[in-house]
């Protein structure tokens, strides 16, 4: 896999070029096993 990083320090900037920031609030964000955003759903009210 070309994306795999080997022998290279992982820095916080590793996501910086193609990143998105999402504010989730009482929501569920789902990423699949390929780290792709699949859904953002509201959570049902919790007691």
């Amino acid at each position: 896999m070309s994306e795999m990083i080997s022998n290279t320090p992982i820095k916080k900037e590793s996501l910086s070029e193609n990143e998105q920031t999402i504010l989730i609030h009482n929501q569920r964000l789902k990423l699949d096993s390929k780290r792709v955003l699949r859904s953002l759903d509201s959570l049902e009210s919790r007691q």
């Binding site: 896999m1 994306e3 795999m4 990083i5 080997s6 022998n7 290279t8 320090p9 992982i10 820095k11 916080k12 590793s14 996501l15 193609n18 990143e19 998105q20 920031t21 999402i22 504010l23 989730i24 609030h25 009482n26 929501q27 569920r28 964000l29 789902k30 990423l31 699949d32 096993s33 780290r35 955003l37 699949r38 959570l43 919790r46």
Partner: protein, 142 residues
């Protein structure tokens, strides 16, 4: 063992009165973590490998990125498949100590008792649920 950052989660924190978000990274160590033996894991915040952090068959783990290494107890939480990890200021949850969220110097009033939870299913899909009062910032690749 190196890994990739899957997502970064910003956790609000106050240290000595200064508002400093702690960033917890969900790391993907791929499929090649040894099934037996101790995993050697790379911690990007201190730019070196950490040893003896535990035996794991998991692909994912949590690391606090912007936290001084001398303040870490272990700094790594394994995300096992089909299990949920909850993060917050609950002092009864060992994970919160491991991630440096219960530092004695912190004012954790910004942090909910159960701030968020992370679940990995059997197919290695990840769910991040926010249960906090003010919400949680999650940084993911586009």
């Amino acid at each position: 063992m190196n890994g990739q950052v899957v997502a970064e989660i910003e956790i609000p924190s106050k240290v000595y009165g200064l508002e400093i978000d702690k960033t917890i990274a969900i790391m993907d160590y791929g499929e090649d973590i040894p099934e037996k033996g101790r995993a050697i894991l790379y911690n990007p915040s201190i730019n070196k490998e950490l040893d003896n952090l535990g035996v794991t068959r998991s692909r994912y783990g949590l690391i606090t990125q912007n936290y001084k290494p001398e303040e870490l107890i272990a700094g790594f939480v394994v995300l096992k498949a089909d299990q949920t990890v909850t993060i917050g200021r609950n002092k009864e949850d060992r994970n919160n100590y491991l991630l440096g969220l219960l530092d004695m110097r912190d004012d954790n009033s910004h942090l909910s008792r159960e701030h968020l939870s992370i679940h990995v299913d059997k197919d290695n899909n990840i769910s991040i649920e926010d249960h906090s009062t003010n919400g949680t910032k999650v940084v993911i690749p586009k």
